[in-house]
Structures are given as C-alpha cells and as structure tokens.
Symmetry: C2
Subunit: 211 residues, 2 copies
C-alpha cells in the first residue's frame, strides 16, 4: 500500500485493543454521531500540513477528487470515487460534499484506523485481502457469513477475478455491511436473524445506503 500526501502508515502503533470493529469506529463515537463542538479545538500542526498538501486548489476544503489523489491502494490505483464519497459524507458536517480542516482531522484519523485494521488482516502483507483473510476479518468483527457470501463479496468487487479486494474496497464493504447490519438489527427484535419488513421500509433502507 502506498500513501501520497503524507499519510503515515503507523500513526496508532497498536494503541487499541483486539477488536478491529471498535478500532474502525464502530463503537462509541462512530460515524454520523458527533456534533461539532461549540468552539473548534486547534488542529494538530502535522495534520494542518497534510491538509494543505491535499487541498491542491487551496479552497480550504478537500473534495472527492483531491482525496482520491491523496490515497492509493495496493494496486497503485487511486481510491475509488465510491470510497472517497462515502468517507467524506461521514465527516462533512455541512453536507456539501467536501470537508474543512476540522472535518478532515477526524476523517484522517478514521482512514488511518481503517488502514491499520486492513494491515492487521492482510496477514501475508500482499496489500490485498484474499478470501481467507476476509473470512477472518468479518469473523473477528462478529459476523458469521457463509463461504458463498464471502465469495460474493469478493466477486462483487473483483470483476477480473483476482480473488482479492483492495484496501478501499475493503473499507467500503465493511462500512456498508455495518450499516445494513445496524438497520437489520433494529428490526430483528428477537435476534432470530430473520425480519419481516414492508415495501416502503425495505426501499427506504436500501436507498438510504446507496449514494
């Protein structure tokens, strides 16, 4: 994996526990939950520098294209539009499709947490996640999926049949699974793994997740 724009690979150095889902922001303070503080705290000078490097047009906001330019996956490709849109939308307090420096500080930490999670699961350090690695990752995140479903997840991301997914695909897949799981869980009140759902509710969930 390579990072342009100064994203360090090891910012956290293992300072959190064994549960990658918590590290990835699934626990307290997960996405969408925070409100801007009344007074913005000062942003770490290192992050200020990184922000300025990424904000090529110096508008004081980072857009999807700028973020894509800054992030490169293990195939040497820029992160996908989908991945950057998804992550920006999680931290863009003003809902304008771009992040300011305060949003960016949180986004930056969030991306680094994901990179660390990815690295932990990429046991052979190939820069990709293969089927067995994805199975382990999702199991450790608390999911029990069939082998067919894991294969489907990979195939969905992998039209040329490399049988692996890149870091940006991994991040998007995990975030989408987590969101749909949350939506499912609140309706699965008896924890049966089966829900009964009406048409509009179903559509509403489905559409809310698609960008």
């Amino acid at each position: 994996m390579a990072y342009q724009g100064g994203f360090p690979q090891q910012q956290y150095g293992g300072g959190y526990g064994q549960h990658p889902a918590a590290a990835a922001g699934y626990g307290a303070g997960g996405y969408g939950a925070y409100a801007p503080p009344p007074q913005q705290p000062a942003v770490n000078p290192e992050i200020q520098n990184i922000f300025r490097n990424i904000d090529k047009d110096s508008t004081g906001r980072i857009n999807n294209r700028e973020l894509q330019q800054a992030l490169i996956n293990g195939r040497g490709d820029h992160f996908s539009d989908t991945a950057c849109n998804l992550m920006i939308s999680m931290f863009d307090r003003n809902k304008v499709g771009t992040v300011d420096i305060f949003d960016f500080e949180k986004l930056y930490n969030y991306i680094n947490q994901w990179l660390q999670v990815f690295k932990n699961f990429d046991r052979d350090a190939s820069g990709h996640i293969e089927e067995s690695e994805l199975t382990q990752a999702l199991t450790q995140m608390g999911f029990r999926f069939s082998p067919q479903f894991i294969q489907y997840l990979i195939a969905k991301n992998d039209p040329v049949n490399r049988k692996e997914i890149s870091v940006d695909q991994f991040i998007v897949t995990c975030i989408q699974i987590q969101r749909f799981t949350d939506a499912f869980r609140v309706r699965d009140t008896e924890q049966k793994g089966v829900i009964t759902i009406g048409f509009e509710d179903f559509l509403g969930i489905a559409l809310s997740m698609c960008s």
Copy 2:
C-alpha cells in the same frame, strides 16, 4: 435541460405508449438482459458522430468522466458520478467501466428515453421534478408511496432543501427503486407488500445495488 455533445431532446417524438416505465426500459429488453449479437450491426452515423465528440481521448471507449462532460442537468451541473456510473454499468458488456460504440448506441437510446420520460413529468417545464410531479411520475409507474416517502426521496437528493430533484437524480432514483422493487417482488410471493427475509439475503440485495 441542456445537453452538450449533441444529445437531441426529442429523438423519440412520442413514439411509445402511455406507460413511462415501459419507455424507460423496464419492460422487455430491460437493463442487463441483452447479449451482444454474434455480428455487430452497423451503428447509425449520427450516433457515430456523437460518440466521437464525447470520446475526447479517442480511445474508442467512453468513460464516466467523458459521459459526465456530455450531460448537463437543468441546474447547469454535469450529471453526477453516480448517475453516469450506474448507466455505464448497465451497458458495459465487458464490465470494464467504459462503453464502446455498440454499448453506447444502446446507452444513448436509453438516456434519451429517460430524458423524454423526465420531460413528460416535468409539467411546468422547470427543468426539475418537484414533489407533486414526482408523486405523479411514480404513481404512473405503478407505485403507491406515502407522501412521507416521496418527501424522503426528494430530501435524500436535495441537501439544500430546494424541494426538487434534477434529471440525473430522477433517473438514478427511478432505476434504484425499480431494482429494489424487483428484488422485493420475487420474495413477496403472496403480493402482500411484506416479506420475511434473512440476514444474508437482505445484505446481499442491499449490497448488490450499491456501487
């Protein structure tokens, strides 16, 4: 609505019936269903010209960015990434994220059908679809949604509260609704408007629709 790159607004001239969903490719020969013929028929010379104008890099394939450049909605904005990705993915036989001229001929006709559908429903010719127009459109497509759901559909596309959606948002919304409806319908065997669904199946549907 404005079209760059020579998309005529009126190619079809009302040559189809009253049901916009059929016009929009929901009927026979809908998306994803066709296979390439063994021998490619000749492409209409007008469409060849349009193709060459859009294919700025002359690679013989139109990518998302090129299509976005060619399509402008009633706000003067280019069609969204999401809209162009979605439409390209429907006609990209080789699953490479771009269309060749044979794919493009079908894509071009498909887009023109949608533009015509949009124009029919934009009764005040504002270039946008407002709530009452969207209600009528979806009703004519055979849906019975609550007013709250229609408002949700608009709000989802309309962060700045203009209370209207643009043509590209309309196309994406209709395609997504139609796909989720198809997925719902095959599970709603008794036509009750309610289904019982397991976790993996639910996730699979939801993920398959998100790019």
